[in-house]
Point group: C2
């Protein structure tokens, strides 16, 4: 069972909920836009399906709806931002804007964030750079679900990386990916359909290969991109580690197994070394390197060459990063966003609690 | 057949060769150190085995032994460097030093390089940041051997990424990896031993899965990290693309299928859009974010926690990136560097040509 909703209806509902928990008008608008950009772009696991989760974190006082977000240290091209336990959906765009503002003057801007929470999809923040003729980067750590190569312990989150690069006549290049073989959202789809997971996605609690999409519930773990050592999982583990260190060791947030969980009913880790969840953002002005028009002409050629490459049988074209999400966004903006019945039920309950009709 | 050589003997031989082709004293020393750091760290494919390859590129005038390396554009935190067709082994450390110098003042430094050549191992340059209490980053594009997901054409190089991060009492974190499932050097090892390649490393010229370690000779391609779409190869393809764009589109070097080949007998691509090979370097001063001592204390805890994680059966410990290479370096510095007979023969011939005994 599922049903389609218009973007505007979901927007109004979500914004009203954020207002009800105490966000001001600006923050409620920002949080809603960031949250729903996931639904529009087809990352359903990070969109409105998480709204009630954010509210529960606010209920247990792990999220501050009126944070004083501030720069605690800075140089011409860097800053550390304290999110004051705010919604990551609100803290992240503020921090990314600081990176962009620094890049305007110093050529590049790099901002590490502590004391934040889940920030939605990584790509949204990276894409903020595009309209400024800048390359944008965004990454975040997350609670530990991933076992490094040879480990049976979960020590890393799915720790995504997003990079957005402007083009000229072509659409921008937008990469946005978890540093695991498959994002947790893809596993959830298999769970709902009662299907097996491909090899290399998860391992058992003893570190053995598994095709059970529910293996995490048995103490198993997601695997770093590559799956196993022979297929390069040490590289996925390195990538996830770099994201963790840039986001949290550089800012003073929690890292590794100490990153706070998203579900409000899961107790916080003991002996946490930092504050909240960490993010890392970067903005590089194109013309800090080359005239933007020259760069864009080359990017157009790059995109056209890759896009028109000869494909293997059964595939129509080589996909340019960001293309499928852009097509999905156009479709869902026009034709509505499909929600699963459990998500609809959850939002209906949430609406009743705050006397807002869903 | 193989034989061990002392680091000092290889150093003297290599430096003399670089002097013979016209490098000045400083450049010959730098090129030798960078080249041999690959042999010391166990990346044999990128070390002295390539020396005669560099010389052949000089012979056909694709490498300039006395380049005027210069900054062609800059801002407080960025620069584009023109390598003047110099040895990448010489151009890269100069460019990385510019990134470090910019970071001293602006907090971070980011340098994109055009008109360069093969720069040895990525990790060497990234590690230059460590002694300055900075995080170092290094990446380069390379001639196309890799087919993007769904493509049968080779459009990307093995495009490595290196990130070096200082710690306190612990040794630094040093990640250095090709963005393919396996580096070409690992394939060469299988070729020499007449062994099959694991699945996910290469594909046939028609884009079909293959276990033939010699598949590249048949028109096949290396595969991006992940191997196939189901196992996340689109992520490896995105990573390799980001390296290509940062290294070459940002600097004005050649990208994609137009990157110049390493073997001097392979003709240059037609209609090249840029100049030479491209690299990208970054340096971030730790104390541009947090006091270095706080950062290092957290890095020590990060390393200790991961290092002591419970392992799956058959594995002693979870490896911290950089550990195996550091152990190899200590061993080879003390006990010598083993070279294969074909490499010894090649270097002997090279020595005769320049009247230097090997």
């Amino acid at each position: 069972m599922h049903k389609k909703f218009s973007y505007q209806d979901l927007y109004n509902f979500s914004k009203n909920i954020f207002l009800k928990i105490g966000c001001n008008e600006t923050d409620a608008t920002t949080a809603t836009k960031v949250l729903l950009s996931a639904d529009l772009r087809g990352v359903d696991s990070h969109g409105i399906a998480r709204l009630s989760g954010y509210v529960r974190l606010w209920e247990v006082k792990r999220i501050n709806a009126s944070p004083k977000i501030k720069i605690v240290h800075e140089t011409p091209s860097t800053a550390v931002v304290d999110g004051d336990s705010g919604l990551g959906l609100v803290v992240a765009p503020v921090a990314m804007q600081i990176a962009i503002d620094k890049a305007k003057i110093a050529g590049t801007g790099w901002v590490s964030v502590k004391n934040s929470n889940h920030y939605g999809i990584a790509g949204y923040h990276a894409m903020m750079a595009l309209e400024n003729d800048m390359i944008g980067m965004s990454m975040t750590n997350a609670s530990a679900l991933v076992a490094p190569t040879f480990s049976v312990e979960r020590l890393l989150g799915t720790n995504p990386i997003a990079v957005a690069i402007p083009a000229g006549k072509e659409q921008p290049f937008v990469a946005d990916f978890a540093t695991t073989t498959a994002a947790n959202g893809k596993l959830e789809i298999l769970q709902r359909k009662n299907l097996d997971a491909p090899s290399g996605w998860v391992q058992t609690k003893d570190g053995l290969p598994s095709n059970n999409a529910n293996e995490l519930k048995n103490g198993g773990a997601l695997l770093p991109l590559g799956g196993d050592k022979e297929h390069g999982s040490h590289k996925g583990y390195m990538l996830g580690s770099i994201v963790d260190i840039f986001s949290a060791v550089l800012s003073g947030a929690n890292y590794g197994p100490w990153v706070p969980p998203f579900p409000a009913y899961v107790p916080m880790p003991e002996n946490m070394p930092g504050e909240g969840i960490g993010h890392f953002f970067g903005a590089m002005r194109i013309d800090a390197f080359r005239p933007a028009e020259e760069f864009k002409a080359n990017m157009d050629q790059w995109i056209q060459r890759f896009s028109s490459a000869k494909t293997s049988e059964g595939h129509e074209k080589v996909i340019i990063p960001g293309e499928p999400e852009r097509e999905m966004e156009a479709d869902r903006m026009q034709n509505g966003i499909e929600l699963l019945q459990p998500v609809i039920d959850d939002l209906t309950t949430l609406g009743k609690k705050f006397e807002i009709e869903f």
